[in-house]
């Protein structure tokens, strides 16, 4: 197993970019480094237009048309990019009340989102309301711990998806929050919530051992951390009780992190947990650099956040 050496730095971290001697001289047929860029949002809550200049909290922030410019610029710079959303796409502005999520899904499709997981508010028009909008979504919904077999969403939501970007296999799976007490039963109907920790352990094993993924990402709507309810599943608890997950992209708690959290998994290895607040005010970006050079392993993995 490779040793991962994590270096946390706030600023001027790019100096580390040249860490370790690069490339074996001549025999390498492949390019020496592949960069995978993961872009992510969460809890956008139908915030399509930017906040106005008069807004008390987030003046002139957000807006899908601006996010589109940024995402396109990043894709131009690195085509090996995935754009993901951690749920609660719906509810928060009249766009949702008037169009039921149609515009949200159409815009996410135009921005070429690759996958999203399902948040509790995505049930706000009922499971039928979500199903009705699926034709507008040209991306996959991933949820491994919602069992939809007895619902209209059966076969329309996958537990995980494996993306191949320039030879790098990226496994992404989704996790949703407990619906009972948060969403009315008549909205989620026969959806069965399964224990997210057990499911995550299964998923990471499947993605690592069966799908041979180089990178494993969990799209979670569990919430970052619950200090007053220590038994409640959260991203930090999930990170500590699983292995082989490289990144947990979270949502639900509208947590604004100054930088991604680096925490330890069940094997004492590092996991990144990130969440970017809400309402499309921020875009999260995590770059993973892969090297085909065997000798690189000795140098471990550095994390710069």
């Amino acid at each position: 197993m490779k040793r991962r050496d994590f270096i946390q730095q706030t600023a001027s971290a790019t100096a580390l970019a040249t860490i370790g001697g690069l490339t074996l001289p001549s025999f390498t047929l492949l390019k020496k480094e592949t960069k995978i860029t993961i872009l992510h949002t969460n809890d956008v809550h139908s915030h399509i237009d930017p906040f106005g200049p008069e807004d008390g909290r987030n003046p002139n922030k957000g807006g899908v048309a601006r996010r589109a410019t940024l995402v396109q610029a990043i894709r131009n710079e690195n085509p090996n990019t995935l754009l993901l959303d951690a749920g609660d796409i719906f509810q928060g502005t009249p766009y949702f009340n008037y169009y039921g999520g149609e515009l949200e899904f159409k815009l996410m499709s135009k921005l070429k989102y690759d996958a999203a997981t399902i948040g509790n508010h995505d049930f706000d028009n009922g499971i039928d309301g979500l199903y009705a909008q699926l034709p507008h979504a040209e991306f996959d919904f991933l949820s491994a711990n919602y069992d939809f077999s007895n619902t209209i969403l059966d076969t329309h939501v996958k537990p995980y998806k494996v993306f191949n970007k320039n030879g790098i296999k990226i496994g992404v799976f989704g996790l949703g929050i407990m619906l009972d007490g948060l969403v009315l039963k008549n909205l989620y109907k026969e959806t069965i919530y399964l224990d997210p920790t057990e499911i995550a352990q299964d998923m990471s094993r499947i993605l690592k051992e069966e799908e041979h993924c180089d990178l494993i990402i969990c799209l979670s709507h569990l919430g970052y951390h619950y200090s007053e309810y220590s038994e409640r599943p959260s991203d930090l608890k999930l990170a500590a009780s699983t292995k082989n997950i490289d990144l947990i992209i979270g949502g639900h708690t509208h947590t604004f992190l100054h930088k991604p959290t680096i925490t330890k998994n069940a094997e004492g290895k590092n996991v990144l947990v990130n969440q970017v607040g809400c309402y499309g005010i921020n875009l999260g970006r995590i770059d993973f650099f892969f090297d085909s050079n065997r000798n690189k392993t000795a140098n471990g993995t550095s994390i710069i956040v």
Partner: protein, 254 residues
Amino acid sequence: MTYKPLIFLFFIAILFCCKEEQQQHLTRIEGTQISISDSLETDLEIDAFIKPYRERVNKELDSVLAYSVDTYSKKDGELNTAIGNLFADVIFEQSNPVFKQRTGRDIDMVLVNHGGIRSIISKGNITTRTAYKIMPFENSIVVVELKGSSINKLITYLLEAKRAHPISKLKVVVDEDFNLTEATINSKPIDTSKTYFVATNDYLYSGGDSMTFFQPNDSLYILNYKIRNALLDYFIKVDTINPIIDDRFIQIKK
């Protein structure tokens, strides 16, 4: 002829080597957060796509429904507020006919939560947007049949919260130490041998805002009537709103 095995070996060697080379190793991770601000240019194609949706929504939201004679905030008032009283009274007025038609009974009282009023009502025109601002959530009205003993728990909750949670048809008077001196529903004392029909929203019914007294209950009636729609229907019905702070929840100091 004799070269063949050598060439073959050479290819094997290359394949083996390449296979080794293709092992991908994660060497470095960089994480940043990018603010979506006005320094980013607007994607014109996306903006043009949104435009017809935006125009239709804005046109509907800006349609005038009623007139407000003053500005009302949930911060104006101690244990009851003009906007909160309006909020609870509208829920009663709009949902009681629906409830009565279905059950033949009347709603006895209304309780919702102070935090559920999400905006002020400004003096001047009331539009559809006003209703969306006050009530952006999709919560619906439910009627819960509660025993008199549960109503007492509900009142204890109000005394402990010391907040202007919107109520209608219920009257609560406390002394300077917040001891209960009077509690009535429709001007009659709470009868613990009776059951009462309490209108609230589905969020509070499920224990939201620590309102645990809605469970257990004798029965639940789901009206399928959103609070926002009750407000909209009320604003369409009336010309002017002029709610006041009254004596439905007050503290009498010596």
